[in-house]
Symmetry: C2
Subunit: 343 residues, 2 copies
DNA sequence: CTGTTAGCGCATTCAG
DNA sequence: CTGAATGCGCTAACAG
């Protein structure tokens, strides 16, 4: 339990600790013979420098912070996996925390990570100008936004081209038959607004459309809201196409509609956004816009490491390409049969 | 970017740094007047102690390490959420990493966390006696195993009572009609073995049963294996009940069976284990054994904090209560209609 | 009650 | 090429 220190090594090797330190960080400055000698006893005790001490002495901690909105969100696992893949390959470690969509929690989170002297921060922020992001700028810690674009040209972000995704879906909706289109805006976030703008601006003119705002994040929320929407927009009598701007909520709609005796897609066609794992496996496979969250994690992590290791570089402002995936929730014949994205 | 230090505060407050230190950690040892004085200027610069320095000086880092098998596993998100809830409530932070089921990665992982001087480790190990767990014991770092029981009476763990879960399912299977029972053992892990033992030991004697071993972890694996099993055990002609020991794989089976024209549950009844979010939403809702992974995370985290804060206590050896959930994959009528666990 | 002193483990000048 | 000295920021005795 007693951690072995550089002094122990130096002592046993009969050299000074400076030499041990060099053997580790700049081996070529040490004569081969002594180097091997020191190395062997480092091996013997499988000694590794105390990271805290290194950090105190001004070295990078090789630890980065990750702040996400919430864990119970399929978004996060793929993101984490992507981040993990590049982070550990570079011998970094990362801490995580969730903001639960609360700006104060988010702020407290990045503060705590800064206290821990992380070398940089990856954050899927509540908004592009949340207090946390402001603090990050003020502080000068390297950071990159995930799943959120920023108007500030100096900040790096990696997000999906939500606008384009919305557009893709609109163009597809233009080919559908219906008497009205309903947009259910799940919650207020930059990414969601982008989807809606893209969608609305590409819809055939003259289409009857209505937009419903809600603050829905979960399956259950969709399940609960569905009847209200069905009622106020008389879905039972008007053939309708719905764009629910997030898969989880969309699936809640589908489940509830089916229970209400509304047939899908005949009576109501429903599309979501994100292409989470469940979307292809649920009762009525969901038409949606797919984005590779795993890649989003990878790219963000790479951008951050780049920024950390090579100092100030150009900010990375990257938009992932969205992809329309038509499944049975909008098209009877539609969709793939197998070979879905492995959930 | 220049972090402000205790010296800065002491200087500006006109006291020594010991006093500042006391104001923070043992305020009652400081005269009210000077305390307020110091406090005000701490506020002014929103100073917080450098955690690295504190750590070096022997204080706990209030950072714990979490090692999971893999992220793209619904298991992990709920666990992380549970852990997060208690960890952040106690002002701790946590780092995560995934072993990807590789003992070397797992070992490297815990080593790296120990290097980072975490106060304790939460680990869902590849096995109860993997090299990583051995190292943990050797090292004397507080740790608790998740989703895995240990034979060593000294080690703490929080897992599901898998044996009992298997038993519950067996007793239910005893009420089903079929000509044979097939157990598909998804992969070799202590938790899975427990399920199978419980299941086998509670099956009605005389039942025709066969066990298939595979190394399947994903939906896709199940999808791929299904036809082989169907073939070798002539499922098309013999009414069969299957216990696939993990939901993801079970859902793969269902999908493939349906594609092959095998009706469920009429021709083949299928049950899984875990009750992941998808299980209630997929084409044919899955009968399964539910365990609260969120609680598993909470309880483990609490146990660890207990161990860290109050030193050596009795090891915590906790088994979560499993719950049988009957849905349509085994019972036509069966299952809930709504009010599922919110995915 | 408060200031002084001495590490904690390591990297980094600066001499030799 | 290598050793001795200094500082990183903070806590913990130990004196006043």
């Amino acid at each position: 339990m007693k951690h072995i220190t550089i002094d122990d090594i130096a002592h046993e090797a009969g050299v000074s600790k400076s030499t041990v330190s060099r053997v580790i960080s700049r081996p070529n400055l040490v004569k081969e013979k002594t180097r091997k000698q020191v190395l062997s006893i480092i091996e013997k005790y499988s000694y590794t420098p105390n990271v805290l001490a290194q950090g105190l002495a001004g070295m990078p901690t090789k630890n980065i912070g990750v702040v996400v909105d919430e864990f119970p969100n399929n978004f996060y696992i793929d993101m984490a996996d992507g981040i993990d893949s590049v982070i550990t390959a570079n011998n970094y470690t990362f801490q995580v925390m969730s903001s639960r969509w609360r700006p104060e929690r988010e702020l407290a989170g990045i503060r705590s990570m800064i206290k821990n002297r992380v070398d940089g921060i990856l954050i899927a922020p509540v908004s592009a100008d949340s207090p946390a992001v402001m603090e990050l700028k003020r502080f000068g810690v390297p950071f990159v936004l995930m799943n959120c674009q920023s108007a500030d040209p100096a900040v790096s972000f990696v997000s999906c081209d939500n606008y384009k995704g919305g557009a893709l879906l609109a163009e597809y909706f233009n080919t559908l038959e219906h008497e009205q289109i309903i947009i259910v805006s799940v919650f207020d976030h930059e990414s969601v607004r982008g989807r809606i703008r893209g969608f609305e601006e590409h819809l055939k003119t003259g289409t009857v459309r209505v937009t419903r705002y809600s603050n829905a994040k979960t399956y259950q929320d969709g399940y609960d809201i569905a009847p209200l929407v069905a009622e106020s927009d008389s879905i039972k009598t008007k053939k309708t196409s719905l764009f629910v701007t997030n898969d989880y909520v969309a699936i809640g709609f589908i489940t509830r509609f089916l229970e209400m005796g509304i047939t899908i897609p005949a009576q109501a066609a429903i599309a979501g956004f994100d292409d989470i794992r469940i979307s292809t496996l649920c009762r009525i496979p969901l038409t949606t816009v797919s984005q590779s969250v795993y890649d989003m994690g990878r790219i963000s992590a790479r951008a951050l490491l780049e920024q950390i290791q090579h100092g100030k570089t150009e900010p990375v402002r990257h938009l992932m390409e969205p992809r329309l995936i038509v499944r049975e929730s909008t098209s009877k014949s539609g969709g793939e049969k197998k070979g879905h994205k492995t959930p």
